[in-house]
Each structure stands twice: as C-alpha cells, then as structure tokens.
C-alpha cells in the first residue's frame, strides 16, 4: 500500500524533469545580434530586402556594400513608397492621371549614387551615436546626420524610466524658400533650422554582420527621402 505514493512521486518527478526538455521556441529564434554572414549575404536571407538586393545587383554595388562599415538598409516598402511618389509626380508633370510607373521603369544605374547615400565607411553603432548626431559623409559624397534620439513613444515610462534611444538617418535640406545653411562640417550644425532636418527612423538597429553594421530603416521611409516632394 505504502508504495503507491512513492510511485506517484517518482512519476511526478520524472514528468517534472523531462517535460520541459522539448524546445518550446516555435517559429523564430532567440535574439542574436551577430550574424555569421557578410552584409550582402545577410540582406539576401531576409525577404524584406528582396528589392534592395535586386538594386544592389543591378547597380553592381555588392562589393561596396560589403566594404561599408554601416549600411542603412531599405525595406521593400521604402522602395515601393518611392515608386508611388514618383508616379504621382510624373502624373502631375505630364498631366496624365492614368500614367503608370513601376519598379521596372526606374533607370537603376542613374540612381546608383542615391543608394550609395545609404552606405558609410565608418562603423556607427548605437553606442557611438548622440542626440545631436554624428555628421558623416556617405559613400556618394553627401553629408548625413546620424542621430540617436530618446523617446517614450513606444514604451511605458512607468515601467522603463530610462528612455530608449532610436537611430535616425537625417538628411539636411534647404528651407522651402531657398534659405538655410547646408553644413559642410559638424561645426556648422548649430546654424541649421530644425525645419531643414528630414529624419528617417531606424526600425531595427545594430545587426552585426561579418563586414559591418546594418540599421534597417522603417517601412514608411521613402527611398531618397522623396516623401518630401520639394526635396
């Protein structure tokens, strides 16, 4: 008689020790910021960058991407937004509301420098960035401001008293009336009017590949900052 509870305990113990053994992570993986691939190969693994990879291939920028310390990656949406804006612009210019403009109509070699404006020589991890921003020359020769701005927009300030910082790729443009200083080095940044800053937030920052760092721009960004039509 007395053996029954003992057996029960034994069974329970076995269940307890063995039950959790299975891998409960279904679909997805644990967070790992390092990927053991080159930047280009990493972009190829994620379908979100299909269009970007096509562009890189046709513009023959594969080597340059892999030599860049930091790549601001455009998702398919960001390139689609450009196509939509471009179509709207062409419709107005040609006064033809039925005009269609698709990705295939883009003359990709002409936009090579536009894509190179998203590539930087230096490694620019979040820890290196500040709220005022680091002023860096992109591979096409244009200057960009790379900022890390804290906000509570996506977190509850009661739970997280320290505001998380988000990376921004910022283009500095002239004001609409043509005035405004376009700085050539970081000492001129204090002369910039806030209205001159076109900011694009990064949705995933600090993916470390074997060749550099990838920051992924948010889906509502528009390639070449074309969301600002007069830019």
């Amino acid at each position: 008689m007395k053996k029954i509870p003992l057996i029960c305990i034994a069974v329970l113990a076995i269940i307890t020790f063995y039950a959790c053994k299975k891998d409960y992570v279904i679909g997805g993986s644990l967070y790992e910021e390092k990927v053991n691939l080159s930047t280009y190969d990493y972009l190829k693994t994620n379908r979100l960058f299909d269009t970007l990879v096509i562009m890189i291939d046709r513009m023959q920028l594969k080597d340059e991407v892999n030599q860049s310390g930091t790549v601001f990656a455009l998702t398919n949406y960001a390139i689609h937004n450009y196509v939509v804006e471009k179509q709207a612009q062409l419709r107005i210019q040609n006064n033809d509301e039925n005009l269609t403009f698709t990705f295939d109509d883009i003359v990709l070699p002409n936009l090579k420098d536009s894509l190179r404006a998203y590539l930087f020589k230096d490694r620019l991890p979040l820890s290196f960035l500040t709220e005022t921003g680091r002023f860096r020359k992109a591979n096409d020769g244009e200057n960009r401001l790379i900022q890390a701005i804290p906000t509570n927009d996506y977190t509850n300030p009661n739970t997280f008293p320290v505001q998380p910082r988000y990376v921004y790729l910022t283009k500095i443009v002239k004001l609409e009336d043509g005035t405004g200083v376009i700085p050539t080095d970081s000492t001129q940044l204090n002369q910039v009017d806030p209205e001159q800053l076109l900011q694009a937030r990064v949705q995933t920052s600090g993916i470390i590949t074997n060749t550099g760092i990838v920051h992924v721009l948010n889906n509502s960004h528009t390639f070449t900052f074309f969301g600002d039509i007069k830019n």
Partner: protein, 486 residues
C-alpha cells in the same frame, strides 16, 4: 441550553440592528432635491454653476479630440496614418462603418449633462434675488451666457447629427425624466435662434475683466453664433446683418501678421469665443495623460517621435498655391514631407522643466474669431450678389497674410472666399462645416462624395448615434443614412 441562549441572543441582536440601524439613512432626502432647493440661493452659486457649464463644454469639445474629429478630419486636411490612428483614418476616408470607430465619438450623453446644467441655470437663476449677487451685473450676464451656451451646443449637435432631442426644461427629479424624440434640425435651429434673442438682450459688448476676454461669452459671441446659424440654414441676409454687427460694434480687430501666432494662444483682440486652455492657469492639456496632439511631433513636442495626423500635402498644395502666404509659414512645419506638422496650436510648456518629459499644451481652442466672421460675411454678401462689398472684406483678410488683392466676382469669388476660409481656418474645427454648407465637400475630399448626397439630410455626412443609447430610450431613431448600416 447555553448554546440555545447564545443563538437566541445573536438572533435578537441581528433583528434589532436590522430594524433600527438603517432608519436614519433611509429617511434622508434625495440629494438632488436638496441640490435644487438649497443650492441656487445666491450669486456665488450662480457663478460657479456657469463656470461648471463652461468646464463641461470644454470637456465635450476636447474629449476624443471631437472638435477636430468633427470639424477637420472629414474635410481632407490630413493624411491620417492608419497604423497610428486607425479610427480617425477611417473617418477621414469615409470608411466609417460604425464598428471601426470608438463609440465615444458618436454618443451624445455628455452633451445632455451640459444641457441639464444650462436648463437648471435658466430655470433657477432668474429666481435669485438681485441683492444676493455681490456684483449686480452678474445676474443678467449669467442668464445671457446660459442661453448662449444652450444655443451653441444645440447648433453644434445639429451640425453633427442633424435632428437631436430638444430638451428645454431641467429634470428636477431624476425619476420623472422622460425620453424625448429627435426634433427636426429646422426646429432645433429655430430654438437656437430663439435662445439667442434672449442671450443678446442680456449680454453686452466688450469685457470689464480682460481675463475673461473671449473665454466668457458676450454679445459679440452671440452675434457671431447667430451669423453662423443663419448661414448654415441658408438665411444669408440674416447672417450678413449679424456678422456686420460683430464687425462694426464688437470692438474686435485683426492682429497684424507679426502678432498673428498670438491669436492661437488665445484671448487676443481677434478672439470672439474660445475655450480656455492655459497652463499658466493650471488648465493646460497634459499630453502624457489623456491629451492628444496628433498634428505635432519633435521638435514641437520633445521626445515625440511619431505624428498621427500629418498634413495632406496635395490638399495643402491645392489651397495654398501661393507659398509666400504668411499662413503657410506660420501654420506648417515641413508641409511638403510625409511628416508635415500643423503647428498652429503648438505652445507647449514642460511641467518638469528641462527634462522635457511632461509636455502641457497651452493654446485656447478658437471657436469664433474675427477673421472667421469677416469671411462669413463675405460669403453671405457674395450669395446676395453684393460682390463689391464682399471683395473688400475678403481682401482685408488676404492683406494680413501678404496676398495680393483679389478682384473677381460671381462663382469664382465664391470659391476664393471658401478657399480663403479653408486657408485661414485650417485645423480650427470649421473646414468640414464650411465644405458642407457650400456643398463643395466632394471637390476637396473625394472619398466622401458618395455619402455626401449633396448635403441632403438623408446623407451620410451626418453622424450616426451610438447604438448603446437605444438601450434606455425606445423613442430614439438612428440617423437616416445609417439605418441598417451599422
């Protein structure tokens, strides 16, 4: 035996407590009867009652941003982001189906709390002896304001829902409150005008206390409302007369283009009727707790990364063709970008100082102002075929914004006046009603064209009412367009 005794004593105690203990509470008079008989006895009571009414109006207009949701969102001024504010995205696109928009926006219960308060004031304050007012002018003033506010809120409701229940007597005993049917919009507007006649008799032009400027109603506010009601009901000759009275006798003046942004902080010489929102008076809007500034982001609200209601760039480019317009620079920030901000109301102070984590908005809500009434009169004159007079008024407003004088007539002038209103009153809760009144809504927001039905009372430009209200009220009927659609 001992056990029986204890049980007996306990039972006796329970019975005694039950029969005697509660007597006092049950004998008390109901709170509301005490309220009406004991409350309205002196001037101070009347003053706090009217302040309560203003507070309730503020709550109604700010709740769910309804002032802008009714007056601006459906006009097409904004390209609302569906991922950040799906509810108002649906409203702006004519994709409102009832289920995709929270019911808070189409429930009028809080409006009737205000109406009950106003009916009480109208019912009780005339009975308070004049000696009980420390300032004897107050009595007339308060009665006038109550009639004005009742007229205002019914007009407001009628523009949103069309037919609304007209309740003109207070419920002194809540048990005898009756459900009443929706009166036709025409009857509601008639009642609004009747209330305004009494309001105008009791109110005066100008302000003795500068602190009350525009945030307490005066005769100018009443006339401005009269002009709006008459224009809305198509009586342009009446609207023209009332507007003219405001312009010539009200003592208001347009601020120059440099002072212009001060109009939107409030209590300026241009303000005719405003809702007080001032951090300095502890009445700012806390953007962290309940407040909503959907048209702003950083740098106007520090640390706010997202903008929910970016401006609709094509709408902006359609109406502000001349970008040297002072208003284009004063109202917008990066208007050509996909994050274009409307910075008209962006007077933000931080309660925690330089840490900038507790933003408070400190801009009055502008309900009527002089430029609005000048353009309304111009619209009326144009409709009455008095174009030369209309052009003078139109150019008064254009001049302030640095635009060249306009010299057209007829329908072209009508369109210019409408667009001048759209430019001047962008994000001031007026554009939608302007487009409905002039029946031009589909040309500016084509997504509303099918349900607009040329402004017919059967059209879907009127809002449905919250089905939850039918639960307690069997006399209520849904707005025609929405019957069977929700």
């Amino acid at each position: 035996m001992k056990r029986n005794l204890t049980t007996y004593i306990t039972a006796l105690l329970i019975v005694l407590t039950a029969t005697t203990g509660c007597k006092k509470i049950l004998d008390l008079e109901p709170h509301n009867s005490t309220f009406t008989e004991a409350y309205f006895t002196n001037g101070q009571d009347a003053n706090s009652a009217i302040s309560g009414a203003y507070a309730s109006l503020r709550r109604i207009l700010l709740n769910n941003s309804s002032w802008h949701v009714y007056g601006d969102v459906p006009s097409g001024e904004f390209s609302i982001r569906s991922d950040r504010d799906n509810q108002n995205y649906n409203i702006s696109n004519g994709e409102f189906t009832g289920l995709n928009v929270g019911s808070g926006n189409w429930n009028w219960q809080s409006y009737f709390q205000l109406i009950q308060q106003l009916n009480l004031i109208i019912n009780k304050v005339p009975g308070i002896a004049i000696e009980k007012f420390s300032n004897r002018d107050d009595k007339q003033q308060i009665i006038g304001e109550a009639y004005f506010l009742r007229s205002y809120i019914y007009f407001y409701m009628s523009r949103v829902w069309g037919d609304v229940p007209l309740k003109l007597e207070p419920d002194l005993d809540i048990n005898q409150a009756k459900n009443i049917e929706r009166s036709t919009a025409a009857n509601v507007l008639k009642q609004c005008l009747a209330d305004l006649v009494i309001a105008k008799e009791n109110l005066k032009f100008g302000y003795n206390d500068e602190n009350q400027r525009a945030v307490r109603a005066n005769k100018g506010s009443a006339l401005a409302l009269e002009a709006h009601i008459k224009a809305w009901s198509g009586d342009y000759s009446g609207a023209e007369i009332a507007a003219n009275d405001v312009i010539t006798n009200g003592g208001y003046s347009l601020l120059d283009s440099i002072q212009y942004p001060k109009v939107f902080i409030g209590k300026s010489l241009e303000g005719i009727f405003e809702i007080n929102i001032s951090y300095g008076q502890s009445e700012g809007i806390s953007l962290n707790s309940g407040g909503y500034a959907p048209t702003l982001r950083t740098p106007y609200v520090a640390n706010k990364a997202d903008i929910q209601w970016p401006v609709n760039t094509s709408y902006i480019n359609k109406i502000y063709r001349d970008t040297s317009d002072v208003r284009y620079k004063t109202f917008f920030f990066q208007a050509q970008s996909s994050d274009g901000q409307t910075i008209k109301f962006s007077n933000v102070t931080y309660a925690d100082g330089s840490a900038q984590n507790d933003p408070r908005l400190s801009n009055n809500l502008i309900l009527f102002r002089l430029a609005d009434i000048i353009l309304l009169r111009a619209e009326a004159l144009n409709k009455l075929n008095r174009d030369p007079e209309a052009v003078v008024l139109l150019n008064r407003v254009r001049k302030r914004s640095g635009l060249v004088d306009y010299a057209g007539s007829g329908d072209a002038l009508g369109t210019t006046i409408l667009e001048e209103r759209l430019r001047e009153l962008f994000y001031e809760g007026q554009s939608y009603y302007d487009l409905v009144r002039t029946k031009k809504l589909p040309s500016y927001n084509e997504r509303m064209s099918t349900q607009f039905m040329d402004g017919s009372p059967l059209g879907g430009w009127l809002w449905p009412i919250d089905p939850a209200m039918f639960k307690d009220d069997y006399t209520l009927v849904q707005t025609p367009y929405w019957q069977g659609k929700l």
